[in-house]
């Protein structure tokens, strides 16, 4: 067991190393000054306070969607709806933030609840379609991402739009609804605490409750779970609703913490990023914040690189893809793993 864990850490490390190397090679191919460009990429988040803060801020939505994806993946459900859930959660929070008149803290809470509810509904649909009619949650959640994107854009454009502004943005959210940005010169907001609670909740749910156990059993072997009396259909449904709620909460927190108005014109892509985050974290909620920070680091680094060099920020996509492919590849370094295990067995044999 211990060897396994050590091996996993080593393998992830090697995968990241290989990915960075490939990223560097690509940089060399397209850049006039590759060393300088890649240097900015690696040091980017640490170059100014503002950028360091941006790195922390970027990790917040990634953690939320990473948690959502971890939950559904733990149950063996390939529900990729976090993208749409996050988006519609943000739209719902915006509506509540614009139209309701409530005292400060309560207003924020109501907005967050609106996000949770919208996300839960968005997660419920693929869940119920799967549980009741066996429709592939993979395809249905991908379709719903587009539906919720269009629905959200319709609501913002036709009902919440601020006509006095040239750009397509919503009316401003009421001050009472916003999460406080509590560190000067940064946009780091009190949503961080909501985030920490959510991380703890997910970890506790997955590893310390009987339903979490059922979720994991269903994910490991659905037939076995069914024969041992686990109500797999209700597990499948409830985990997707819960994941939807978390992604929706993420959208709401991002909206209330960072923005004053709704101003996205396209889906910001945090849902699919959540897949990267969850995959790197091996679907363990406790590790999700760490891997989210890592991804945020790559992203901010890439942005900084794009400012100071001739390499565009999308270079980071190559690094991400290689990392996912290698981290999830069972055969990657498996020969080394066998040798590690053999050595351990031999040692314990000679010791006894």
């Amino acid at each position: 067991m211990k060897t396994d864990k050590r091996f996993e850490i080593l393998r992830t490390g090697v995968a990241i190393g290989v990915a960075l190397l490939i990223g560097f090679i690509v940089t060399c191919l397209v850049s006039e000054a590759p060393l300088k460009a890649f240097g900015y990429f690696l040091r980017g988040p640490f170059t100014t306070t503002r950028r360091f803060a941006a790195f922390l801020e970027a990790a917040i939505p990634l953690t939320f969607t990473g948690l959502a994806i971890s939950l559904v993946f733990s149950a063996g459900q390939f529900n990729l709806g976090a993208e749409g859930q996050f988006f519609i959660g943000a739209v719902a929070a915006t509506a509540a933030g614009i139209y309701l008149d409530l005292p400060p803290v309560i207003h924020t809470l109501v907005c967050l609840l609106a996000g949770i509810a919208a996300g839960a509904v968005a997660g419920f649909i693929p869940g119920i379609l799967k549980a009741k009619w066996n429709a592939s949650e993979l395809v249905s959640s991908l379709m719903l991402n587009y539906v919720f994107l269009k629905l959200g854009m319709y609501l913002v454009t036709y009902h919440m739009r601020d006509q006095s502004v040239g750009a397509l943005v919503s009316l401003p959210l009421k001050e009472t609804s916003l999460l406080t940005q509590f560190i000067p010169n940064t946009r780091i907001h009190t949503g961080v605490f909501i985030l920490l609670i959510t991380v703890l909740f997910c970890y506790y749910y997955l590893f310390r409750t009987s339903q979490g156990y059922e979720v994991r059993m269903t994910g490991q072997n659905i037939e076995f779970a069914r024969y041992s009396g686990i109500p797999v259909l209700s597990v499948i449904l409830s985990v997707q609703v819960l994941a939807g709620a978390i992604a929706g909460l993420g959208g709401a927190v991002e909206m209330l913490g960072i923005y004053k108005r709704f101003q996205w014109l396209a889906s910001p892509g945090y849902g699919f990023d959540g897949v990267i985050v969850a995959t790197l974290a091996k679907n363990n909620p406790a590790l999700v914040p760490v891997t989210a920070l890592f991804l945020a680091y790559l992203r901010v680094g890439a942005d900084v690189m794009a400012i100071y060099s001739d390499v565009s920020a999308e270079m980071v996509a190559i690094i991400q893809a290689v990392i996912i492919l290698l981290v999830t590849a069972e055969a990657f370094l498996s020969g080394y793993r066998r040798r590690m295990l053999l050595r351990e067995v031999k040692q314990s044999a000679s010791a006894s």
């Binding site: 395809v139 719903l144 269009k150 629905l151 319709y154 999308e314 190559i318 893809a321």
Partner: protein
């Protein structure tokens, strides 16, 4: 409403259905080949995007639309082989590997676009070529059919031919038989001496090549440029069309037409005063409904047969 009906029943609307069906059909055929060999190809979306980009870039540099198509198909096959390699040799889950390739394609093509065209949105600065429209002599003279099938993009005709070819390949050749055997029961196939991995490698390469033709149609037939994320979910819709079409080339053709209809309808209704967002939802919602009905019926059928 009457105007809408009249427009839908017109031959030119039927022609536009065929046009928008083309990329979905190619990708859906690709999905069939992969799925029958036992591997889900989620990477179709990204494959199309890579190929759409490659077609534009290569045709701009060689000044030949056909070389562009060839390169697009080649890149499609290459993406299919990449998926095969990571899934079959490295043991990555096929869905996760597909997601990784899709993410790579979404941003990777923007990265490449910036390198070759200096723009992150569209490739309009590249002098890329478009595949020609074909005029079919005899059919062109027939009244209604002529307006629908008489003049279409070369790739649209090829997609119709591909339906027949994929059918013949899967059901009338010995390799097709082996491919389906591998998908049905890999252990049994292995026990009679079929190299399971080799068959799946070939199947995914074909699957990618087909999706590549669909991608080429998007950027070199449907429009004459590449723009970021121009597939907008067609690769995923193709997966739904594959399920809905009972994993059979002819069924998939009909299912693709259905999605093509929704797509063409949304294009048409955009010119009316319906909020564009709602109209754009139609193909996705239709997919959802169709998928649910299909899956529900399939499950019921399985229960009653047992």
């Amino acid at each position: 409403m009457q105007a809408l009906l009249r427009a839908i029943l017109s031959p030119s609307f039927a022609a536009s259905i065929l046009r928008v069906t083309t990329p979905i059909l190619f990708a859906a055929l690709g999905a069939v080949v992969a799925d029958l060999s036992g591997v889900v190809n989620i990477a179709l979306e990204g494959t199309m995007l890579f190929s759409a980009f490659t077609g534009v870039a290569v045709s701009a540099f060689t000044q030949s639309a056909w070389l562009g198509l060839l390169a697009a198909v080649g890149v499609g096959a290459l993406v299919g082989l990449t998926l095969a390699y990571s899934h079959l040799k490295l043991g990555t889950d096929a869905v996760l590997a597909g997601i990784a390739l899709n993410l790579l394609a979404a941003e990777g093509t923007v990265f490449l676009l910036y390198v070759v065209a200096g723009d992150k949105g569209v490739s309009s600065s590249l002098p890329s070529k478009v595949l020609p429209d074909w005029h079919i002599p005899v059919i062109k003279e027939i009244p209604v059919l002529g307006a629908i099938l008489g003049k279409q993009n070369a790739l649209t005709y090829m997609s119709l031919i591909a339906v027949v070819l994929v059918y013949l390949f899967l059901f009338k050749t010995s390799f097709g038989l082996r491919l389906r055997a591998v998908g049905e029961n890999p252990d049994a196939a292995d026990s009679v001496g079929i190299s399971v991995h080799r068959v799946q490698f070939v199947a995914l390469a074909i699957s990618g090549a087909l999706a590549g033709m669909g991608g080429a149609h998007l950027s070199m037939g449907y429009v004459s440029w590449f723009s970021r994320n121009m597939t907008s979910g067609r690769g995923f819709i193709a997966l739904a069309a594959e399920t809905l079409g009972y994993r059979h080339p002819v069924g998939v053709f009909l299912a693709s037409l259905l999605f093509g209809f929704a797509d063409a309808l949304s294009n048409y209704m955009q010119s009316l005063r319906v909020p564009g967002e709602f109209v754009q939802m139609i193909p996705y919602l239709l997919t959802l409904v169709a998928l649910t009905i299909y899956s529900g019926r399939q499950r019921k059928g399985r229960r009653s047969s047992k």
